[in-house]
Structures are given as C-alpha cells and as structure tokens.
C-alpha cells in the first residue's frame, strides 16, 4: 500500500508543478493563437496599400512571434510529459476516452509548427503574395489546436462518452467525449480570451512607446492593429462569459456556489461582488439582491445551491475561486470600458483618444488581460476540485505515487524563472536594437 502522506505530498507537488507549467504556457499559447492574426493583418495591409510602416511591423512582429512560438512549443511539450509523470491515473484509465482531441491537437500543432518554419524563414525566400498565404495555415492551425485542447479540458468538467464497469472504461465514444456539453462555452471563452491577451499585451507595448512620446504612424499602427482585435473581442467575451456561467449553473452548481461564495442553498440568491467566506459566512461582499438567481437561471427567485449541499470533502477552495472569479470579471469590465472609449472616440473623430488617461489605461490593458486569463483559469481549474474528472475521478486518485515528485517542482521553478527573465530580456533587447536601426532604414529609403 502507498502511504497516505506520499499521496498528500505528491498531490501538493504535482498541483504546484502543473499549475506553474500551465499558468506559464497559457499566456504564451494565447499569444500563439492571436499573434498570427495580428501579423497577417499588418502584412496584408502592407501588400494591399504599399504601407511601409505596416511591413516593418509585420517583420518585427514575426521575429518576436518566432521567439514566442519556440518557448510556447517547448513549454507545451513538458505538459504532455506531465500528463503521465504527474497524473498517470487520469490518462492511464481515461486515455481511450479523451485521447482523440489530443491527437487532433497534435496534428493541428504539427501543421502550425511546419508553417511557422515556412513563414519565418520564407520572408526572403518566397514571393510577397506566397509568403502572406503561408501565414494563413499558422493562424487557422493555432485556433484549431486551442479548440481541440480545450475540448479535453471541457470533458474533465463534463465527462461523457463512456461507461464505467468495475473501474474500467467500456464503450468509449471519443466524439461524444470531445463534443460534451461544456465544449461550446469553454472553447469560445478561451479563444476570445486568447485574442484579448494577444491584442492587449501587444497594444500595451506600443502604448508605453506612445506615452514616451513616440506617436508616429509606425507606433500608432502598431498599437491599433492588435488593440482593435482585442477591443472587438471584449464585448463578445462578456457575452461568452455569461453563456459559460449559465452552463456552470446548469451542470456544475457547486462550482457556481464557489464562484459566488454561496455557502447555504438560497432562493433568489444575490450577486456577490468581493468578500470572503469566513467561518461559514460570506463577509464584506457587495450584494445585488436576486442578481445571481436572475443571471444564472433567468428567474429572480430561482434556487441557487450552496456549498453546504455537498459534504466538505467535495467542496472546492471557495475563497480562492471566488476572488479569482471576481478578479477576472473586474479585469474584463475594465477592458470593456477601455474598448468602448476607443470605439466612441474613433466613431466621432477617426483617431485615437487624445487623453493621456486612455494611453495609460492601454498600458495597463496588457497586464489586465493576462491577469484575467490567469484568474479565469484558476477559477475553472480550482472550481472543479476536488475532482480531476468531475464527479468521476478525484485529483488525489489521479496523482502519481512515485516518491520524490517535489524535486521536479523545484527544478521547474528554477528553469521557468530563468526562462521568463531570459525571454523578456531578449525581447526587450530586440526592441531596442530595432529602434536604433530605424534611422538607418529611413536614410536608406530616402537615398
């Protein structure tokens, strides 16, 4: 028998390692989904309107994207290792049910990696038109691979497509598993989130430049192309978030209770903003009466299940989930405000808002989008606990029983710290080098 303390230790170690790996990868992967679109818009504009600023942006961005794709590819690889190293109980039993979307993701990612090679190294090998075309599969495959991988996560929230007989999987139906009830809400939510992270993060970089007085056309365009993609995605995301919350209310009521900090089952529960559950009561929250019942079920007097409707060992870590959820929603509405500001000003003046407060807000938009992404991911992953596969497989039954998992976590922490610093430093040096090269390019054009 495996000693209970090995499991507890391993559970902490494995969750920490998986959390760091995924939390890191989710940002880079989002950029991998959204960045190709941003670059293609710039390159298309460059070709279409003979726009040199757009061409310079496309080339600069493709170098940046090259670095991000590479670190994204390798930080994604370790996750496929960790699926077995840390959680052999998950795929060792359910691999036959939920393996298919991973295989499809593998194919999509393969196509993405191939065309990234063609796109990045094709700038001075292919004709301009062919080069633009070679970028399209990168964008499509990026979106497809994100879709496939999220269907697997959706299945963990809403496991379908198999029967269990004496602990063994029988009659697996991989398509039913992939297209489970959680799939539409989760995939749309994540894809829009990826566009937001990409657009707001790149936009932030150019907003910083604008704040420092570089408001020439190159920087304005570098701000506008990504920021508009994100700004268009934001209102759609608020809608998609509402759709996802209704799904959770319908299929995972205990997760909803954790999201909102609903301790006791309640008729016509209010919407809770902020607050913490202390000694079995939500304290310090702003309550909008009947708000939650109305939002989640469309009925101000609907019954909302509380955490106390299940035994304590089946409740998620409520405060973390509730705070993370509010953080995500708060960041989302901040970004909605900023997007609306741009839309409103643009409609009237066909120009960026002149207020420095808009630019300052835009500087914060990138970090806010990244925080929303991380918080949303914490919400869905911790909200599902203590289950790895909702209602079927507990996380402490999925974890590896091998001794010494903690060492892996410490090494991972060290490697990722160095990786983060190195990546940011090189990207920064690239930006500086790019800027100092600009006067030469201008001189060359003029001559």
């Amino acid at each position: 028998m495996i000693a209970a303390n090995v499991i507890t230790d391993n559970l902490t170690a494995a969750r920490a390692q998986m959390g760091v790996s995924l939390g890191w990868h989710i940002i880079v992967a989002s950029l991998g989904v959204g960045f190709p679109l941003v670059i293609l818009v710039a390159e298309w504009r460059a070709l279409r309107r003979r726009d040199d600023a757009a061409l310079r942006l496309a080339r600069t961005w493709s170098r940046t994207a090259g670095v991000l794709f590479a670190v994204g590819a390798v930080s994604g690889t370790i996750i496929s290792f960790e699926m077995g190293i840390l959680w052999p109980g998950l795929l060792g039993t359910y691999g036959s049910v939920i393996g298919l979307p991973f295989a499809l993701e593998g194919i999509a990612f393969f196509i993405e990696a191939i065309f990234i090679g063609i796109y990045l190294y094709g700038w001075d090998r292919l004709s301009p038109r062919l080069h633009l075309l070679s970028g399209i599969p990168v964008a499509i495959a990026g979106i497809a691979s994100a879709f496939f991988i999220v269907t697997a996560n959706a299945w963990m929230n809403d496991p379908q497509g198999f029967r269990l007989v004496a602990g063994k999987v029988v009659d697996p139906n991989p398509l039913a598993a992939m297209f489970n009830p959680a799939t539409p809400a989760e995939t749309i939510h994540l894809l829009l989130a990826s566009f937001m992270v990409t657009g707001f993060v790149i936009g932030s970089v150019y907003a910083v430049a604008m704040l420092r007085g570089r408001r020439d056309r190159y920087h304005r365009l570098g701000f506008l192309i990504p920021f508009v993609l994100a700004a268009v995605s934001t209102p759609l995301q608020i809608g998609a978030g509402d759709f996802a919350a209704r799904y959770v209310a319908d299929r995972q009521p205990i997760k909803l209770a954790a999201l909102e900090g609903v301790v006791h089952t309640e008729r016509g529960a209010g919407e809770h903003i902020g607050g913490l559950v202390i000694n079995g009561r939500l304290r310090g929250a702003i309550v909008i009466p009947h708000g939650l019942a109305l939002l989640a079920y469309g009925d101000p007097n609907a019954i909302v299940k509380g955490l106390d409707s299940v035994p304590p060992d089946q409740r998620p870590p409520t405060n973390t989930v509730h705070v993370a959820f509010d953080l995500m929603v708060g960041a989302g509405f901040f970004l909605l405000g900023l997007s609306s500001w741009l839309a409103w000003t643009w409609r009237r003046t066909r120009a960026l808002p002149r207020s420095p407060w808009f630019v300052r807000g835009a500087v914060l938009a990138g970090p806010a989008a990244a925080v929303a992404m991380e918080a949303g991911w914490v919400t869905t992953e911790l909200g599902r606990q203590p289950w790895t596969v909702y209602g079927i497989l507990r996380t402490d039954h999925a974890v590896s029983t091998a001794p010494g998992l903690f060492a892996g976590f410490y090494v991972l922490l060290a490697v990722y710290t160095v990786l983060t610093i190195s990546t940011l430093y090189v990207l920064r040096r690239m930006g500086v080098a790019n800027r100092s090269a600009l006067p030469d390019a201008v001189a060359l054009l003029a001559s």
């Binding site: 061409l55 393996g99 292919l126």
Partner: protein, 340 residues
C-alpha cells in the same frame, strides 16, 4: 493487421521520425558544443543554426505525437512508463525546454555577447536530452518497467546496463546523423571546408556508433535476454539490413560520394529501431503486457487511425513544402533592404 497493430505502427513511425529528424537537431547542438572558441567556431555554428533553424520545431512535434498516440492507443502502458521512469523523462522535458528556448533566444538575440550567453544551454541540453531518452529506451528494452502506476524502481529502472547503452548510443547516433546532414548541407551551399570538417566527424561518430553497437551485443545478451533472442530471431533480417546500410553510408562518406549518404544514414537508424520493435513484439512492457492486452477499445483505435489518416492529407504536403522551402536560395529583395 489488427487495429492495435496499426496504431503500434503509427507510434513507431512517430518515434523513428523523431529519431532521424529531431535526433539530428540534437546532434547539431552536440557539434555546436565541440565547435571551439567563439571566433574559430563561428562558421560551424552558423552552418548548424542555418540547418536546424527552420525545421526543428516541426521535427520536435513527433515526440508529442508519439506520447499522444501512446496514451490514446495504449493508456495503461503510458501510465506505467511515465510514472516509473519519471526521473529521466522529467530530465528529457527540461532538456527540451532548455535546448529549444536557448536556441530560439540565441537566434533572436541582437548582440554577440547576448548570443554567447545562450550557447551553453543549447549545446549541453542537446547532449543530455538524447542521453536520457536513450536510458528510457534501455529501461523498456530490458523489461524494467512493470505494469501499474510507479511500480518499478524509480532509480534502478533506468540506470541498468541496457539504459546506459541506450543513452550512449542515442548520443552517438544523433551526432552521427547531424554530421552527415551538415556535410550534405554544407556541400549544397558551397562551404567546402565545412564539408571536410563534418565528413571527418561523421566518420568518427559512425565508427563510435559501430563500436558501441558491437559492445552492445554482450550487454543485451546479459541484461536483456528476451530482446537479445528476439533480435537473433525475427529481428535479425532488419538488423543485418541496418549493418549493411550503415556500412554503405560510411563507405560512401569515406570515398566522398555524398549523393545517398543522408538517406542511407537515416535508414540505418530507422532499421535499428524497427529491429528492436520487431524483436520485442508482441510485448509492449517486456514480460508483462502485450499489444493486445494494453490496447484501447476498438472504437478509440478506429477514431485515432481515421484522425491520423485525415491529418496526413494535410501533413504530408505541408512537410514536403517545408523541406522544399528550406532548399530555396535566399533572395535579398527590396523588403529586406528597408530593414538592414
């Protein structure tokens, strides 16, 4: 052929593709390590970077593909391997991260001093990663991975004689393949002095591989008897083919006839891996678990085969396009002038 065997073939195609494509990318990193000082080794390092730059990310995907096929097609075997061999596999994963990101950051870094900072990470990780992958192969081949979750010894399972053999052979094989490919690439691009450098290295690495393989016969006889007998039985024709292919490749290199050396060398590695697979068949975990016992239910296997078949319709032409593009000459067009 049963669906399970078909999936096993897909798995093995992925693993062999990883070995001959990504293996050579690791080998490039190994030669980077031995290229000498910054100024003296500059041209070799540039040659290596130019050869692996456009293709390494695509080549790297084969390992992910192999893992996914394993956990979908043979879930309990995946769980057994990953949990018992988690130490070398974790080191492989870190090696992959350090190698890939160091290479990409070195390529992107605008100053030489900054580039130099990433050189060691790229080169050392390129040496270490295939070694640990080889120890995993050795653990599998010598039957040190029992079924179940983490039932094997987490230290002894991958440090036995066959694992060490596998590790050393993997490193030497990667170095050999890389030297051959780099030799051919240098010749295509008219870098004739580098052709000689890499030809010499290919011959040395090839000879080292042959010596390790010969020594390996005894190691397998003593440490992995089931595999040894399989190699002398069903695996023998393929093993002999491998010996013939590698001898032919080395002879052509020696005579400076470079035309078929790349394909012959790759096939020599492919045949070693297929000889292993045939010799071990039908066991996935030696002595305990067969292909049929570990296979997922038919519905899953069929879905997986259909998915890969549909995927191949897109993948094969895409790969062909990539390898075609790499060989195109670089043209300095007006677009580049704006920048440089």
């Amino acid at each position: 052929m049963t669906a399970a065997n078909a999936v096993l073939v897909l798995l093995w195609i992925s693993i062999t593709s990883y070995a001959v494509l990504a293996g050579a990318d690791f080998g490039g990193g190994i030669w980077d390590l031995f290229s000498g000082s910054t100024s003296r080794g500059m041209r070799q390092r540039l040659r290596i970077a130019a050869s692996i730059g456009p293709v390494w990310e695509a080549n790297h995907v084969w390992i992910i593909f192999a893992l996914v096929i394993l956990w979908t097609g043979f879930p309990p075997v995946f769980a057994a391997i990953m949990s018992t061999l988690y130490i070398p596999l974790t080191l492989v994963a870190f090696g992959v991260i350090v190698r890939g990101s160091s290479f990409a950051l070195r390529q992107a870094a605008p100053q030489l001093a900054l580039k130099r900072a990433f050189g060691p990470g790229f080169a050392i990780a390129s040496l270490v990663t295939p070694f640990f992958l080889g120890t995993v192969a050795g653990a599998m081949a010598s039957g040190r991975v029992p079924p179940g979750i983490a039932r094997g010894d987490t230290l002894l399972s991958w440090t036995g004689p066959t694992s060490l053999l596998g590790g050393v052979l993997a490193v030497a094989g990667c170095a050999y393949l890389a030297a051959v490919y780099l030799c051919v690439d240098a010749r295509r691009d008219g870098e004739y002095d580098l052709v000689e450098v890499f030809r010499k290295r290919a011959l040395i690495a090839g000879a080292v591989c042959a010596l390790i393989a010969l020594a390996g016969i005894d190691v397998l006889r003593l440490d992995a008897p089931r595999l040894y007998h399989g190699l002398l039985g069903n695996g023998l024709p393929i093993l002999l083919a491998s010996a013939a292919l590698s001898s032919a490749a080395l002879l052509l290199l020696w005579r400076r006839m470079f035309a078929f050396t790349r394909i012959l060398s790759a096939l020599a590695v492919v045949t070693v891996l297929w000889a292993w697979a045939v010799a071990q068949y039908p066991d996935l975990l030696v002595g305990s678990t067969t292909v049929a016992q570990a296979a997922a239910p038919a519905a899953t296997l069929t879905a997986l085969i259909i998915a890969v078949a549909i995927g191949s319709v897109f993948l094969v032409p895409s790969l062909a396009l990539l390898f075609w593009m790499v060989r195109l000459p670089r043209t300095v067009d007006a677009r580049q002038k704006v920048e440089s």
